[in-house]
C-alpha cells in the first residue's frame, strides 16, 4: 500500500488551524498525519466527522495493526462511516486517497473551496454537491444538462411527464413575512394531530395511581400518611411527513410551501420533507438550517427538477420503496401537496397511493388548485388519489401562508371527506 498525501500534510496542517493532538508520538511514519488528512477529505466530502474520529481511527489501526489493503479499508470504514449513505463516499474517497499522488492532488483541488473567504458553513455544502456530482458522474448522463428557465410559462392546469431539469430562484422572506408565518404556524391545529403514547406524566385527575410518586410523597411524612398521586398518558404530535409537488403546474406556490415547511420543521419534532417533480428529493436535512432563506437556498441546490414535469406515481414508488419504512413509523401523518395532474401511468399511481395509504396513520391531500364546492373529481389522476386518501383539503388561492394554515386548521367534521368528491362519472372520456 502506498501512503500518499504526506507531502501535502505540512501545508495542509497549516490550513487546518485546529490542531488535533494524536497519541502517536512514537509513530515513526506519517500514517497518523495521513489519516487526519483523510478524515479532513471525508469531512469536506460531507461526512459528519468530529476531531475525535481521527483519534479513534489511529487507535483502531494501532489495535488491529496494518495487514492487507482490505483490512485497512474496513478498519477505517468502521470508524468513519456512521450512516449507510456515507459508504459510497467513503469507498470512492478511500480508493482515490490511498492510491497515487496525482489523483490526490486532483481530489484536493476538487474539494478546495473556490472562494477562500467563505464562511465555513457555506464552504462545506457546495463541496458536498461537487463531490456527489463527481462521484455520481455517469448516472445522470442520459439526462439533459441543467438549464435556467428562459421563458416564463404559466403552467397551471397542465401536466407533463417530461423531465426538464431546472434551477430556481425564490424571492427571500421579508422580516414581516417571517414574523407573521411564525405566529400563524404556532396556532396551527392539524387534523388528528395528537396521539396518545404509552408514556405517563403526572396528573391531577384521579384516574391512574402513580405508585412511585405516591411512595416518594409518603416518605415525607415518614409513612404515616399515604396520599395517592396520579398520572395520565402523555400525548404528543405524531411525526409529520410532507410530500410536496414542485412541478411546473405548482411552481407559483412552491415558495410559500418551502417557507411553510421550514417554519414547521423548526417548530416541531419529527418533520420529514420530500419534494418531487420527476424525481424524489429528501430535503429534511436542508430544512434544518435555521435561517429560512439559507434553508431554501440549500433546497434549491439539492433539487434538480424545479418546475419540470410530474411523475407522481414514480415519485411515490420511490418514496414507498426507499423511505416509507424509515420515516412512517410511530403513527405518522402524511401531508401530500399536489394538484394530482398525472399524465403517465395511472395504474402505478393507483398502486402506490394504495401502498402509501396503508403505510401511514392518516393521509391528507392538500390540493391548491381545487375548488371544493361543486367540484367533481374527473381527471383520472385526481380520481385515483381521492380514492386513496383520508382527507382532501382544498385551498382556493394561496396568497400567503395563512391561507394554507387556515385550510389545514379547519376541522369541521366530515367537511373534508374524500367521498364527497367521488361523484359518479358517467362519461367514459376523462379529460385532464
Amino acid at each position: 500500500m502506498t501512503t500518499t498525501g504526506a507531502d501535502q500534510t505540512s501545508q495542509h496542517q497549516a490550513v487546518t488551524g485546529n490542531a488535533i493532538v494524536l497519541p502517536v508520538s512514537d509513530d515513526p511514519g506519517r500514517l497518523a498525519d495521513n489519516i487526519v488528512l483523510f478524515a479532513r477529505t471525508l469531512r469536506k466530502a460531507g461526512l459528519k466527522l468530529g476531531p475525535a474520529s481521527s483519534r479513534d481511527a489511529v487507535e483502531a489501526i494501532k489495535i488491529a495493526g496494518i495487514g492487507s489493503r482490505e483490512e485497512f479499508y474496513w478498519i477505517l470504514h468502521s470508524v468513519f462511516v456512521k450512516r449507510r449513505e456515507d459508504h459510497v463516499v467513503f469507498d470512492q474517497a478511500f480508493k482515490l486517497f490511498w492510491r497515487s499522488r496525482e489523483l490526490v492532488e486532483k481530489l484536493i483541488a476538487m474539494f478546495s473551496p473556490v472562494a477562500p473567504d467563505n464562511r465555513p458553513k457555506e464552504k462545506l455544502k457546495p463541496g458536498e454537491t461537487r463531490v456527489n456530482d463527481a462521484l455520481f458522474e455517469g448516472h445522470d448522463k442520459q439526462r439533459p444538462v441543467q438549464e435556467k428557465p428562459e421563458i416564463e410559462v404559466d403552467a397551471r392546469q397542465t401536466a407533463s411527464g417530461n423531465e426538464v431539469l431546472r434551477t430556481q430562484d425564490f424571492a427571500q422572506m421579508t422580516v414581516e413575512e417571517l414574523a407573521r408565518a411564525k405566529r400563524s404556524i404556532a396556532e396551527i391545529v392539524l387534523p388528528f394531530d395528537k396521539i396518545i403514547t404509552r408514556r405517563f406524566k403526572s396528573s391531577e385527575l384521579p384516574v391512574r395511581i402513580d405508585p412511585r410518586a405516591t411512595m416518594r410523597a409518603a416518605m415525607k411524612t415518614g409513612g404515616d400518611l399515604i396520599l395517592p398521586r396520579f398520572r395520565a398518558r402523555k400525548s404528543v404530535h405524531p411525526p409529520l411527513i410532507i410530500l410536496a409537488d414542485i412541478s411546473g403546474s405548482m411552481s407559483q406556490y412552491t415558495r410559500i410551501f418551502l417557507h411553510f415547511m421550514h417554519v414547521l420543521s423548526e417548530r416541531r419534532r419529527g418533520v420529514h420533507t420530500f419534494l418531487f417533480g420527476t424525481r424524489l428529493t429528501n430535503i429534511t436535512r436542508q430544512m434544518r438550517y435555521r435561517d429560512p432563506d439559507e434553508a431554501v437556498d440549500q433546497c434549491v441546490g439539492a433539487v434538480r427538477d424545479w418546475s419540470g414535469g410530474t411523475r407522481i406515481g414514480e415519485a411515490l414508488h420511490e418514496f414507498n420503496k426507499h423511505w416509507s419504512r424509515r420515516v412512517l413509523g410511530q403513527g405518522a401523518t402524511v401531508l401530500l401537496i399536489t394538484d394530482g395532474l398525472e399524465r403517465d401511468s395511472i395504474d402505478e399511481l393507483e398502486r402506490e397511493m394504495d401502498r402509501l395509504h396503508r403505510s401511514c396513520r392518516r393521509l391528507i391531500w392538500l390540493n391548491p388548485l381545487l375548488r371544493f364546492d361543486g367540484f367533481e373529481a374527473r381527471a383520472r389522476g385526481v380520481r385515483t388519489i381521492v380514492g386513496n386518501v383520508d382527507e382532501v383539503r382544498a385551498v382556493h388561492s394561496i396568497e400567503a401562508m395563512s391561507d394554507l394554515i387556515a385550510a389545514l386548521s379547519d376541522n369541521r367534521r366530515g367537511a373534508w371527506d374524500p367521498r364527497r368528491l367521488m361523484a359518479p362519472v358517467n362519461r367514459a372520456d376523462q379529460s385532464v
Binding site: K48, G50, A52, D56, E59, A60, I63, A64, G67, E70, E71, W74, I75, H77, S78, V79, V81, K82, R83, R84, H87, T197, R198, R199, F200, P211, R212, T214, M215, A218, M219, G222, G223, D224, I226, R269, N320, K321, R325, R326, V327, L328, G329, Q330, R351, R355
Partner: protein, 308 residues
C-alpha cells in the same frame, strides 16, 4: 484498552473463526468491526433490513465468549421503570405497615428499609451494569428504532459512562462495561449523537457463496443440489424490484420447509406453494406468481446447468 480482555479474540481472523465455530458466517467487514468493538470497548451499532442476522450476532457472541446475554427489546413507550429499575411497591407498603406495627419512629431507618435493595426490581439496563468482573454480559439493545427519542437520549448517558443513578440509592457504576450491541431496522433515523459513540456497520444480504455456507450449516438435512438451487433463486429475487426482499432468515425458513416436504429440487408448483415462507407482501407474491416469476426459476435452472 478496557478491562474487557478475558477470552476475547486476539486478531480479526480469530474473531471470524470464533463466529464460524458457532455457525455464524461473517464476512471480513463484520469480523473487523466486531473485533474493533470488542477491543476498543465501543458499542456496536448494527443497521440493516429485517432478517439479515443482526440479533443473531449478539446471541452467538454471548455463546462464544460464554457471557450472559441480556436483551432489552425496545418498543414505543419504553420507560425507566421497564428498562432500568422499578421498586416493588406492594413490598414497600408492607414495610411501612410493619414499621407502624412495631412502632418504629426513626424516619431514616424507615426510609432505609423501604428503599432497600431487596425491594429493587432490576430491569435489563441495570442487570447489564452489574455483571461479574471478567464476565461482563453481552447487552443487546434490540430494535432501538421502535422506541422514541427520549429513551434514545437516556441511552446516551448510559453508553458514555456505563452508570445509572437511582435517586434513593445513589449511582450504580459498572465494574466492567458490558459488550453493547445495538440493532435497528431503520424505521426511524437514529440521532447522530448516539451513532457517534458507536462503531457503525450496515449488515447487508450475504453473497451467494456465504449464503450457501449459511444454509449448509443451519439446515444440514437439506439436499446439496436443492441448496444450490434455492440460494441461487433467492439471490435472483433480491435483484428484482420487490417491496421487501427476502432476508437470510427467510432463506433458512424456506430451506427448512422444502426439506420437511422432502423435496430435492425446485419446481414451479413447489415454489408457488411455499412462497409464503419467503415473501411476506401480497404484491410481491403476486409478482412472482406471474410469468416474470416463472422466468426467474427457468433462469436459475439454466444458469446452474451451464455452470455444471
Amino acid at each position: 484498552m478496557t478491562g474487557n480482555s478475558h477470552n476475547l479474540p486476539e486478531t480479526i481472523d480469530a474473531t471470524i473463526e470464533m463466529l464460524a465455530a458457532n455457525d455464524y458466517v461473517a464476512g471480513r467487514a463484520l469480523g473487523t468491526i466486531l473485533f474493533l468493538s470488542l477491543k476498543m470497548g465501543r458499542p456496536l451499532f448494527l443497521e440493516g433490513e429485517a432478517g439479515v442476522g443482526k440479533t443473531e450476532i449478539a446471541k452467538v457472541l454471548a455463546k462464544a465468549l460464554d457471557r450472559p446475554l441480556i436483551r432489552l427489546q425496545c418498543y414505543e413507550g419504553l420507560d425507566v421503570s421497564s428498562a432500568v429499575y422499578e421498586w416493588n411497591y406492594p413490598a414497600q407498603m408492607l414495610e411501612i405497615r410493619l414499621a407502624e406495627a412495631t412502632g418504629e419512629g426513626d424516619r431514616s431507618r424507615i426510609e432505609n428499609n423501604i428503599f432497600d435493595e431487596r425491594h429493587l426490581i432490576r430491569r435489563p439496563v441495570l442487570q447489564a451494569l452489574q455483571g461479574e468482573p471478567g464476565r461482563a454480559p453481552v447487552f443487546l439493545i434490540d430494535e432501538l428504532d421502535r422506541t422514541d427519542e427520549a429513551f434514545e437520549a437516556f441511552l446516551l448517558e448510559i453508553l458514555s459512562d456505563f452508570q445509572v443513578t437511582i435517586p434513593e440509592l445513589g449511582t450504580i457504576k459498572a465494574a466492567e462495561p458490558p459488550i453493547v450491541i445495538i440493532t435497528t431496522n431503520r424505521t426511524r433515523e437514529i440521532h447522530d449523537a448516539l451513532k457517534r459513540r458507536c462503531l457503525y456497520h450496515w449488515v447487508d444480504y450475504p453473497d451467494a457463496e456465504s449464503e450457501l455456507e449459511i444454509v449448509r450449516r443451519k439446515v444440514p438435512g437439506c439436499a446439496e443440489a436443492l441448496t444450490v438451487e434455492l440460494v441461487a433463486y433467492v439471490q435472483k429475487l433480491r435483484q428484482m424490484d420487490l417491496f421487501k426482499s427476502p432476508g437470510v432468515a427467510e432463506t433458512i425458513d424456506w430451506a427448512t420447509a422444502l426439506t420437511e416436504l422432502d423435496r430435492i429440487a425446485l419446481d414451479p408448483a413447489t415454489v408457488s406453494d411455499t412462497l409464503g415462507t419467503l415473501l411476506k407482501y401480497q404484491d410481491d407474491i403476486a409478482k412472482i406468481e406471474s410469468s416474470e416469476g416463472r422466468k426467474v426459476l427457468e433462469d436459475v435452472k439454466s444458469e446452474l446447468a451451464k455452470a455444471g
